[in-house]
Symmetry: C2
Subunit: 600 residues, 2 copies
Amino acid sequence: MPQLRLALAQVNPTVGDIAGNADRVLRWARHAAEQGAHVVAFPEMVLTGYTVEDLALRRSFVRASRAALEDLAQRLATAGLGDVLVVVGYLDGAADAVPVLGTPAGAPQNAAGLLYRGRVVSRYAKHHLPNYGVFDEYRYFVPGKSLTVARIHGVDVATVICEDIWQDGGPVAAAREAGAGLLLVINGSPYERNKDDVRLDLVRRRAADAGCTLAYVNMIGGQDELVFDGDSIVVGADGTVLARAPQFDEGCLVVDLDLPAATAATDDQASHVESADRGAITITRVALSAEPVARYEPVAAGVAPRLADDAEVYAALVTALRDYAGKNGFESAVLGLSGGIDSALTAVIACDALGAPNVHGVSMPSTYSSEHSRSDAADLAQRTGLQFQTVPIEPMVDAYLSQLKLTGLAEENLQSRVRGTLLMALSNQHGHLVLATGNKSELAVGYSTLYGDSVGGFAPLKDVPKTLVWALARWRNEDAAARGQTPPIPESSISKAPSAELRPGQLDSDSLPPYDVLDDVLENYVEQDRGLEELVDAGFDRELAERVLKLTDTAEYKRRQYPPGPKISLRAFGRDRRLPITNRWTGRTLPRPGEVPPGA
Amino acid sequence: MPQLRLALAQVNPTVGDIAGNADRVLRWARHAAEQGAHVVAFPEMVLTGYTVEDLALRRSFVRASRAALEDLAQRLATAGLGDVLVVVGYLDGAADAVPVLGTPAGAPQNAAGLLYRGRVVSRYAKHHLPNYGVFDEYRYFVPGKSLTVARIHGVDVATVICEDIWQDGGPVAAAREAGAGLLLVINGSPYERNKDDVRLDLVRRRAADAGCTLAYVNMIGGQDELVFDGDSIVVGADGTVLARAPQFDEGCLVVDLDLPAATAATDDQASHVESADRGAITITRVALSAEPVARYEPVAAGVAPRLADDAEVYAALVTALRDYAGKNGFESAVLGLSGGIDSALTAVIACDALGAPNVHGVSMPSTYSSEHSRSDAADLAQRTGLQFQTVPIEPMVDAYLSQLKLTGLAEENLQSRVRGTLLMALSNQHGHLVLATGNKSELAVGYSTLYGDSVGGFAPLKDVPKTLVWALARWRNEDAAARGQTPPIPESSISKAPSAELRPGQLDSDSLPPYDVLDDVLENYVEQDRGLEELVDAGFDRELAERVLKLTDTAEYKRRQYPPGPKISLRAFGRDRRLPITNRWTGRTLPRPGEVPPGA
């Protein structure tokens, strides 16, 4: 059987930075070649980053992507890497596309380019376009209808893209018909909790469907609200895991494969395979090199261990923040430290992402702040080494109250907004990224103040339910202890009853159910899409469930104004849940902007 | 030829308010029946409102919509309206849909129900699903594959939905094959500037394609970011306009039609028509009544005059604000009055939408505010009769500056945020909706302060370029003068040079090109999607165009945090332009949150 040394380059591109991404591909291709790789595969849309959203509809951007691909082929050859087959995801499009109503302008395609000896020798466009959850690919792309099989060193290699393997039939079935000896799958597959297990099962099933070895390369890194975990995998046709890359780590997975010798005639330039769902698929064959490489001693490929569940989520949150800051040009962050668990965990994530000296924590006590709020915040600063300062808000609050008569919620919200304004002022003065510290449970029910605690550029815990906030805090402390380090989060921040401290003696439990109950309702309503009657049938108290559902539906306006945050679950708030702002279904109207929900 | 009296009910539903919408349908159906109508058609998705966004994916919501339709059929019969054929848009779905990856959960459909004698006698699902601009229908619906032809009083009536007539072929062609005598088109077609001309041409073309009279009914009213203008139309097969409803006005267009007698055998229950683009279309026939109505004297139908261009845009803005407030339970609004043109026009729109006594204008002068800022704001209040108060911001600004050392942009932004916090406090205390007063030109280039002048629940001018702000202000004043009323906007607010007044002597022109030039660049870049080179080729100064393009690309974060506002153009900011937040294509990074762009 012919041998092939395959490198899967699990890299971290930046959306829109075509020049930087091309440099990154060149750098990692060189690295792979130095390791003796014959084929190097990069992730989906690596050249433009993923997702480019409406940039895909801009002709000049499509042109820039196409030109960069051609240029990259030449640069690879000039760098002496021409004989390596380099597979690169990019944005394609037709310069002369006739506008068709209902078809994206310029007919863009989510494509893979095969670069070899200075040329783009083949292009493949994704067949299956996901249009659910965070994906909007019907808006941006027209589907491909062909499959390329490239013969390199005597092996027939077929390439497909991401969603192509999540749906039955189509190009995977065509790869089997075409007799492919290796199926390459290039991906921009966002992280979700526990998705790595699903992914492994899927990859195994599709290897069996294709009847050949399958190599899956995924990007890593944070990009706006998405986090990519890498987790590139190579499995044999029988499902054996031959190699697996670490999660959340940029790098190159090199694996030696024994693959079946190609037998199809390569002058058979355009055969067709009938696909059950999408009509005929044209198979295009490209002959690059027929001769197998001389036999060599294979190197052992690694199978990286999986992170435990909490460690995995924590790594996703750190990666998301590090890249959001880095890709947007921020080196430092600022956040309010209340002494509570949300701001404590956010601060520790920030320290791990940016380095403690670049994290600025501000204690902003009011007349209602408890002594432990201040001392817990100071304790956190001391444990982590972050920059700490205290700015009492009383002078500002008093100045407003001297001008306006404010009571109740208006006065509570005022305190929160004075803090938001202080953080934004520090951001503007010093260039820090402001971090919002709200969690998913609060966001769901609108337990926050618009333009108050919700200000900022990024919200690390936006998709983390409160019960998971506690679990991650405990895990982070235990992990530190196990490494012989100081646990960063003060125990009392974890154990005390949550409070917004906007009026004397206020507790979250005055307005909301206990967080374990709340998170249980939200899991059923938001993640599992169960309706009220189903919740009641499942044993939830009707009055409680009704209240949570109404709060959740009517908090959509606040969620829209919240900063972006990393998506770690199937149904994060933001792009993948889009409720109308006006929603009378629940019989309630939009809360007045900025209200925290009224007390129980 | 058989006669038919047709009523097009151009009504204003509320998203999510199924019960309220059903009541509305019943009320208008009764009204139409009182006028002797034989057929009454309501808009697309009238029962749920349009667009319901992710509510479409919620099983309990789909069930509620289906149940409401059945219930409505019975209520119509009980009310003595059973012999009137009532066509109602609603959300359909399959209770037993098998989950298919890539297909919306529950297989929802954008459907029309035909209600007659207490039953839903037929259901039609939209074939062509728009997935561009503000539309995401591939996310929410599965397309229909059949066409219903209902025989009523001896006339064969086919029903299709909105996008079905914007694309060639499909059910319109099938209606001709089926020998329909009347093609009903029910719509949720959002307003855009000058779309009424496009719509009339389209309706005429499709009447010719279908070979019969075409009746087009559209909803009216504001719904979140969309505005529906009504503009229901009936044209003959030869393109003659037989009736046309007013724009932005809820009501019922009644028209008497002479239509060809149906000839097809109605026991031919399921013939098929081949469609070029989407496979075979099944034609289902429903026989309701074969006998034509006894001949009667037709009444003359009206053709309402069109509004002039500025009047039309102004009506859209007033409608949008009135309904956003009303549908969300606000009776009053508050906004900052700077003496400038944006806040002046916003205030006048608010007075027209909500009544001057419900509009609260706040002058919030700083030490940098000019005397004319205060006097122009007071003059506006006096001319319009809105509620006016003055709250100087110096005490609050001084309190912040006593705690933090702030300079430059940080100090400028602080002033803006103190004003934002004041408006939010008034909102929380009194229940007013806060209006943001920024225009599209500012939004494009990020000339605003995050959490400062951008706070609020609704932004009436969000899609209005600055040059159009001036034009609308002049039009409104002239229109008032022509009616013998006081022009509401002080002349000096229109004529003076725009300034943010955040530092001594500051003018917009310090940081931005003149607005006529800026709007010209934005029209080409944003609306026409021309790239830099195309702009330079068209004669724009390269340095200026580069600067505007960079500002526009990098202001995406601020635009995302901006309140919703009515869409009046092809490419509004918001749902129909979704740029990635991180976008290095232009070689610039995200501005620090909250910055106004640096001076030139």
